[in-house]
C-alpha cells in the first residue's frame, strides 16, 4: 500500500507541475519562445500574493483574485515591451531576453524580500486530509491543487479547440504572417498567450508556496520541473503537459519511496533524460503537434 500511496501522491504533485508548466508550453506553442524567466515570474506572482495576504490580512486564495489579473496585465506589458521586440531579433533573442529577465526578477526579489524563507498558509486546508487506509491518505490541499490543475488545463485545451480565440492562437502558431492576412492581430494573440502563461504561473507558484516554504532563489529549479514536464509530455499539447507533469511527479515520489527522499528529484531527472533519449517527441504527441 505504501507504493499505492507513493503513486497517488505523485499524481497529485504532478498536477501542480502540469499547472506550472502549461504557461511554458503555451508560450512555446504559440510563439516558439522558451521563457527562461517562467520560474522567476511564478515566484514574482507568489511574492505578490504574500504581500497582499500580509497587508490586507486575507487568505491567499482571496489574494489570488487580485494578483492573477495583475499577473495577466503584467504579461501583456511584458509582451509588448520586451518580447515582441526580441522576436524581431531572430530565434536566440527571446532566449537571451528571458534569461536576463530571470536574473533581474530574482535579484529584485532578493533585494526586497531578502534570502529568508517565507510561507503561505492555506488555512484549514493545510492540515485537512482524507484517510483512505492506514497507509494512504490524501491531503485536502493536494486534492484542491490537482482539481484546479485539471480544470485550468482542461479549460485551456477546450478554449484552444473550440473557440475563435483558440483557433486564432493555433493559426498564429502555424503561420503568423498568413494569420495577419486573414485579419488576426498576431501581436495581440501573443499578448494573450503571455497573459495566460503568467497568470497560470503565479497560480502554480502560490500553490507551491502553500505546500512548502519558498525563497527568492527558487525560480530556476521551478523552471526545470516545468520544462521537464513539458518535454516528457511532448511539446505543443496541453494534455501532453498534464501527462508529463504527472509522470514527473510519480517518478519523483516513487523514486523517493524506493531509494530514499534524497533521490526524489534525481529520479525525475532520470525519467526526463530517458524520454529525451528514447522518445524525444514526448510520451504523448498531440494532434496539434503532428504537422
Amino acid at each position: 500500500m505504501t507504493w499505492v500511496n507513493a503513486v497517488i501522491q505523485g499524481v497529485l504533485l504532478g498536477g501542480l507541475y502540469a499547472l506550472f508548466a502549461c504557461g511554458l508550453s503555451l508560450m512555446f506553442g504559440v510563439m516558439r519562445i522558451i521563457n527562461l524567466a517562467h520560474g522567476d515570474l511564478a515566484l514574482l506572482g507568489t511574492f505578490m500574493v504574500l504581500v497582499v495576504t500580509e497587508h490586507l490580512g486575507i487568505s491567499p486564495f482571496v489574494a489570488l483574485l487580485i494578483v492573477l489579473p495583475g499577473a495577466a496585465i503584467f504579461g501583456v506589458l511584458l509582451q509588448y515591451g520586451i518580447l515582441n521586440r526580441s522576436l524581431q531579433g531572430g530565434e536566440l533573442s527571446p532566449l537571451l531576453a528571458t534569461f536576463g529577465l530571470s536574473i533581474v526578477i530574482a535579484n529584485l526579489l532578493l533585494q526586497i524580500f531578502s534570502a529568508d524563507t517565507h510561507s503561505l498558509s492555506a488555512g484549514a486546508l493545510t492540515t485537512a486530509s482524507w484517510r483512505i487506509s492506514s497507509q494512504v491518505s490524501i491531503s485536502a490541499l493536494s486534492a484542491v491543487i490537482f482539481g484546479v490543475a485539471v480544470v485550468v488545463l482542461g479549460g485551456l485545451q477546450l478554449m484552444l479547440s473550440h473557440t475563435q480565440l483558440g483557433r486564432s492562437m493555433r493559426a498564429t502558431a502555424d503561420d503568423p504572417a498568413t494569420a495577419e492576412l486573414v485579419g488576426i492581430n498576431a501581436k495581440r494573440i501573443y499578448a494573450v498567450a503571455t497573459a495566460i502563461a503568467l497568470a497560470t504561473a503565479a497560480l502554480a507558484g502560490t500553490f507551491f508556496a502553500m505546500r512548502s516554504s519558498f525563497d527568492p532563489t527558487l525560480g530556476p529549479s521551478q523552471l526545470i520541473f516545468a520544462f521537464e514536464a513539458v518535454v516528457i509530455g511532448g511539446l505543443g499539447s496541453l494534455w501532453g503537459t498534464m501527462v508529463g507533469g504527472i509522470a514527473l511527479g510519480v517518478a519523483q515520489t516513487v523514486g523517493a519511496q524506493a531509494f530514499g527522499a534524497q533521490w526524489s528529484i534525481f529520479c525525475g531527472d532520470v525519467l526526463f533524460l530517458a524520454v529525451l533519449a528514447f522518445r524525444p517527441q514526448g510520451i504523448f504527441v498531440a494532434r496539434e503537434a503532428r504537422a
Binding site: 483557433r167 502555424d174 503561420d175 495577419e180 492576412l181 485579419g183 492581430n185 498576431a186 503537434a289 504537422a291
Partner: protein
C-alpha cells in the same frame, strides 16, 4: 470613386526594387488581371496592397481612405482579402477551422463556401496538411472569402494544379465574381486572364507597361509587352542590332 487607387508605388526588397512607380485603379465590381513574367513584381504589388509589404514610397487608397500604413490585419476588416501565392494554409487546422478562423460577417459563411467549392464538402473535417493541391487552393480561396472582402486579390491560384482542377476553381470563381466582388488577379495563363477579366495590366521589370480592356487588346500586343519585345526591337534599331 474607384475602390482601389494605387499611386506611384515603389516597393523594395533590400536592394532589389521590385515595384517601380506603379499606378493602378480598380472600379467597384471590376475584374482586373495582372500578367507578366516571373519576377515582374506582380506578387509584390498584390502583397503591398494587402499590407504584407510596406512600400518605400507611393500611396494605396482603398474605399476612399488612405491605407498605405495600415497593418495587414486591419486592412482585412476594411475589406481587402489576399489569397497568397503558395496557399499558406494553417496546416494543423481542419478545412472548416481554416475557414472559421477568418470569418467575418457577410454573405460568405462556411456553408456558402462549401457550396461554391463542392470538392471541399467531403474534406470538411480533414486537416489541411492531408489535402491535395486543388483542395488546398480551394480552401485558401474559401478562407479569404470568409473575411467577406470587397476586394479579392488572387495570387497565382492555378499554379501547380492539374488543368481540370483549374477549370473547377475558375468555375467557382465566376460565382464569386457574380456576387459583385471586385477582383485583382495574377495569372500566368494569358488566355485565361483575358477571358475572366475586363481589364488587363501587363508588368515588366516592376513597371506596368501595358494596360487596357481585355476585349480591345490583342494577344500579340500583350505577349509583346509581357516579354518586353517592343523595347528590345527599339533598342536593336537604335544600337544597330543585338548580338
Amino acid at each position: 470613386m474607384s475602390l482601389l487607387e494605387v499611386q506611384d508605388l515603389d516597393v523594395r526588397h533590400g536592394l532589389l526594387q521590385a515595384v517601380r512607380g506603379v499606378s493602378l485603379r480598380l472600379e467597384q465590381g471590376e475584374t482586373h488581371a495582372l500578367v507578366g513574367a516571373n519576377g515582374a513584381g506582380k506578387s509584390t504589388l498584390l502583397r503591398t496592397i494587402a499590407g504584407a509589404h510596406r512600400p518605400a514610397s507611393g500611396q494605396v487608397r482603398f474605399d476612399g481612405r488612405e491605407v498605405t500604413h495600415v497593418p495587414a490585419h486591419r486592412r482585412v476588416s476594411l475589406g481587402i482579402g489576399l489569397v497568397p501565392e503558395g496557399r499558406h494554409l494553417f496546416l494543423s487546422l481542419s478545412v472548416e477551422e481554416n475557414l472559421r478562423v477568418a470569418a467575418r460577417p457577410g454573405y460568405w459563411t462556411v456553408e456558402k463556401v462549401l457550396e461554391a467549392f463542392p470538392l471541399l464538402a467531403a474534406r470538411r473535417h480533414s486537416r489541411a496538411v492531408n489535402l491535395s493541391g486543388g483542395e488546398r487552393q480551394a480552401t485558401a480561396i474559401g478562407r479569404t472569402l470568409m473575411t467577406n472582402p470587397k476586394l479579392l486579390l488572387l495570387d497565382e491560384v492555378s499554379l501547380g494544379l492539374a488543368p481540370v482542377t483549374v477549370e473547377d476553381l475558375y468555375r467557382s470563381l465566376r460565382q464569386v465574381i457574380g456576387q459583385g466582388t471586385t477582383v485583382l488577379l495574377v495569372e500566368q495563363d494569358l488566355g485565361r486572364a483575358m477571358a475572366v477579366a475586363q481589364r488587363v495590366s501587363c508588368m515588366l521589370e516592376g513597371r506596368i507597361v501595358l494596360e487596357g480592356r481585355s476585349d480591345e487588346l490583342t494577344r500579340e500586343q500583350v505577349t509583346e509587352a509581357y516579354f518586353g519585345l517592343g523595347r528590345l526591337a527599339a533598342e536593336a534599331a537604335s544600337t544597330g542590332g543585338v548580338e
